[in-house]
């Protein structure tokens, strides 16, 4: 199959070239016109389709000099059959914030990847990186040299800061409550060392969304989720409302009745919002973007701890700072994150995400250790169980009873 002249027989995969949705098989075949690796990938994948099992294994750690992350090592378990994918390592390349490109930059990546790898990519990986899919160990260092020459660097993998990512934010969205791109670039640069040299108990992901719509799913899949919000009044353009009613929006039914805090009222002419009850869900603004806009006192909610289910079940991030102003150089946030990373690095167990760490030590203790005041905004509700750990108690000296630390 690894033979250059005899294209692999892929009847099953060929089925997936049919149909209206763009075909990944076509992509692999397209790459295979030039790349033996892509050709063997096609073969090994057809084999998986026949046998219904994968044919990859991960082995020793591979990477580029001085870095501990950014490369995912993969080896075929059928190298005899498909020698060109005997090694098939992935490089994670840190994307530009907001996934904006000039074509030159993308072409530069294509060119270097044509020289060094399979010619296959993912635009993008689920964390946000440009994924260069498949090359041999001996190509890694030279690929990296060409990458940095093109102005790109590797992203995270392993127990490090993972490549931060963000929504399109102020670059194109009228709702961005802070500059997600600037923040993401800034924090990425600030944590370069932590990103390239894994030294944590486990991975640590940042994701930045400009508003509660959370278009990068930060609350579900980032150890630190920074979600834009406001705390004054929603800006209303009463005149523009009219336009919507004329264009078929039923403000009462579609907007007021869907408001989770039921804080809106519409008399057919004027919309009133009792902003002190608004939970900043975005629904009304989403429904009528010309008429409503987030308030002017903007910032972000900082949430911590989301992750996929392994080992104790999935977690959503939860509120750590109910409102933080988000202005460069983001000192308040960086200091907070610094304390968190220090504490977790010190006391986290191996393969314990920060969210799991917090649950193990208790959010109250965690807050104390990083110097944040407990706030009711951090909880959906106070505890329901009576297993309170009282650290302060009275000493047994009846004459002079006094409160002391336990």
């Amino acid at each position: 199959m690894g033979d250059e002249n005899k294209p692999s027989q892929t009847p099953k995969l060929d089925e997936l070239e049919k149909g209206p949705w763009p075909s990944f098989v076509r992509e692999i075949k397209r790459a295979a016109t030039k790349s033996p690796m892509a050709r063997d990938l096609l073969g090994v994948l057809e084999l998986s389709y026949e046998e219904k099992v994968g044919h990859w294994k991960h082995g020793g750690i591979v990477g580029v000099r001085g870095y501990g992350g950014g490369v995912i090592g993969r080896y075929s378990d059928v190298p005899e059959k498909f020698p060109n994918v005997a090694h098939f390592h992935t490089l994670r390349v840190n994307q530009p914030a907001g996934w904006f490109y000039r074509t030159e930059a993308l072409r530069a990546i294509c060119d270097l990847w044509e020289r060094h790898g399979s010619g296959l990519t993912n635009l993008h990986g689920s964390t946000g990186d440009i994924i260069l899919l498949g090359t041999r160990t001996e190509e890694l260092e030279s690929t990296f040299a060409d990458l940095t020459k093109a102005g790109f660097d590797l992203g995270g993998s392993g127990s490090d800061v993972r490549t931060p990512s963000c929504c399109v934010g102020p670059a194109r969205c009228e709702w961005a409550c802070y500059d997600t791109l600037n923040f993401t670039y800034d924090i990425t640069m600030h944590f370069q060392d932590e990103l390239h040299r894994p030294a944590f108990p486990y991975k640590f992901k940042f994701k930045a969304s400009g508003c509660p719509n959370d278009c990068v799913a930060a609350i579900a899949r980032a150890d630190l989720s920074i979600i834009g919000t406001w705390r004054d009044e929603i800006q209303i353009d009463q005149a523009a409302l009219k336009e919507y009613t004329e264009n078929g929006i039923d403000i009462q039914a579609d907007v007021c009745e869907r408001c989770p805090s039921q804080c809106m009222s519409w008399n057919g002419k004027e919309l009133r919002i009792a902003d002190e009850w608004c939970v900043k869900c975005m629904h009304c603004i989403n429904a009528m973007p010309k008429a409503l806009r987030p308030g002017q006192e903007r910032g972000a909610v900082i949430l911590i701890g989301s992750k996929a289910p392994i080992v104790q079940g999935a977690m959503l991030s939860s509120v750590l700072v109910p409102f933080m102003k988000m202005e460069p150089p983001y000192t308040e946030l960086k200091e907070l994150v610094g304390k968190i990373l220090d504490l977790w690095s010190e006391e986290g167990k191996s393969r314990e995400r920060v969210g799991e760490f917090i649950q193990r030590v208790g959010l109250g203790n965690f807050l104390e250790a990083i110097g944040l005041e407990p706030k009711p905004e951090m909880v959906a509700h106070p505890r329901e169980n009576p297993y309170v750990f009282y650290e302060e108690y009275f000493e047994e000296e009846p004459e002079a009873a006094s409160e002391t630390e336990g």
């Binding site: 099953k12 995969l13 089925e15 997936l16 949705w21 075909s23 990944f24 992509e27 397209r30 016109t33 389709y49 219904k52 099992v53 994968g54 990859w56 991960h58 001085g66 870095y67 993969r74 992935t90 530009p96 904006f100 490109y101 074509t103 930059a105 294509c110 060119d111 010619g119 296959l120 635009l123 689920s126 899919l133 790109f152 660097d153 399109v168 670059a171 194109r172 009228e174 500059d179 670039y185 370069q192 390239h196 509660p212 959370d214 278009c215 990068v216 799913a217 579900a220 579609d254 869907r258 989770p260 900043k280 869900c281 975005m282 629904h283 289910p309 392994i310 080992v311 999935a314 959503l316």
Partner: protein
């Protein structure tokens, strides 16, 4: 730049995003006023200055050859001054200032096989993972199922007639790369047999305490076999999560006959109306049936259609189910409710119905 050994550049970080922003974006950065969705796949953002930015969004397979990337770059050079971007769901977006170019670009994209759409109340591209293309841990393929499902549902990508956005996602194993645990419909690769322990290899390459600790159900016990430190798996306690395999390659789980796919519904991420929610189990098991996974495609399509017909305007899958209740979700979709649907993990008790508020 922390490291400067022999001129080798490291820690340069990603290119600064400003270099890649089209002039109209730079000029109106942070000063957008509102947007409209002109037609499926086409947004117009209007700035306070009055400037307009047209975005044309198209689906891609995410797995792209350099040839295709170059092709897309050619399009960007022709239509959008060499600027383009990708979305958080792996769609490509062309950023235009000239409205007259929108139509021609759409024709060009469509002709080349890139469907335009994915905006507003549509099904956008599926967030997904590596599958048999690249991951050692996959219980199913990713790209093949995504292609099969999207072939079937592409109509909802190209129109905007659903009650709300519908976010589909796929992860090929329980590690759940991507946010499948909070998707309207999630497809999840699953193993269904305990790992087979390769005793020889294990004692050489894995750390026993790590392996033991990796198991969420404490199914792994250290054991000495033929004088070698290794482990045993208590089969009845194993829930096939694969975490042991992730920390120790000597415990593979793949099993051609029993691996397959489960379907999850009702998750969401946005804070719009309802707070974010996890997806919940709808179908515990469907077989791996490559190349087109017809059972999976049919199951997903069925759920989409029942929801599309029954949900109110703005009602995401999870909001709809919350309104009609789970008994009716199962009735309406015709999916059988089984023992597997009932949680029996850590917080199981909290998922029981603890009131007499019943909608049968």
């Amino acid at each position: 730049m922390a490291d400067t050994v022999a001129e080798r550049k490291t820690d340069i970080g990603p290119p600064h995003y400003e270099k890649f922003l089209p002039p109209v974006v730079k000029a109106n950065y942070g000063k957008w006023k509102y947007h409209e969705i002109v037609q499926p796949g086409v947004l117009v953002h209007v700035a306070e200055s009055g400037d307009k930015l047209y975005t044309v969004r198209a689906g891609t397979p995410r797995l792209l050859s350099i040839q295709t990337i170059r092709e897309l770059c050619d399009l960007a050079d022709t239509y959008s001054d060499g600027y383009l971007r990708f979305t958080s769901r792996h769609n490509i977006e062309f950023l235009l200032t000239d409205p007259d170019k929108v139509g021609p670009l759409i024709i060009e994209l469509t002709t080349r096989g890139f469907p335009v759409g994915g905006t507003a109340n549509a099904i956008s591209s599926m967030v997904h993972t590596q599958g048999w293309i690249h991951c050692h841990s996959a219980a199913t393929d990713a790209s093949g199922i995504v292609k099969s499902v999207m072939d079937e549902l592409i109509g909802h990508f190209q129109t905007m007639e659903l009650p709300a956005k519908l976010r589909l996602a796929l992860a090929c194993c329980l590690n759940m790369c991507g946010a499948v645990h909070c998707s309207d419909i999630a497809i999840l690769g699953i193993h269904r047999r305990p790992p087979k322990v390769d005793q020889e290899k294990l004692s050489k390459i894995c750390e026993i305490p790590t392996v033991v600790a990796s198991c969420p159900t404490a199914a792994i016990r250290p054991k000495r076999i033929n004088g070698k430190e290794t482990v045993e798996v208590i089969e009845e306690q194993c829930m096939f999560c694969g975490n042991c395999y992730t920390v120790c390659p000597a415990m593979p789980l793949s099993n051609a006959l029993n691996d397959g796919v489960s379907i999850w519904v009702g998750g969401k991420v946005s804070n719009a109306r309802h707070a974010p929610m996890f997806s919940k189990l709808a179908i515990p098991y469907l077989p791996n049936n490559p190349p087109r996974w017809p059972e999976v495609v049919a199951a997903v399509k069925n759920i989409v259609e029942v929801w599309a017909k029954d949900a109110r305007k703005y009602e995401r899958m999870g909001e709809w189910i919350e309104r009609i209740g789970w008994p009716r979700f199962f009735q309406k979709t015709g999916i059988p409710f089984t023992k597997q649907h009932i949680d029996d993990f850590r917080h199981a008790g909290l998922t029981y119905q603890r009131s007499v508020h019943i909608k049968s």
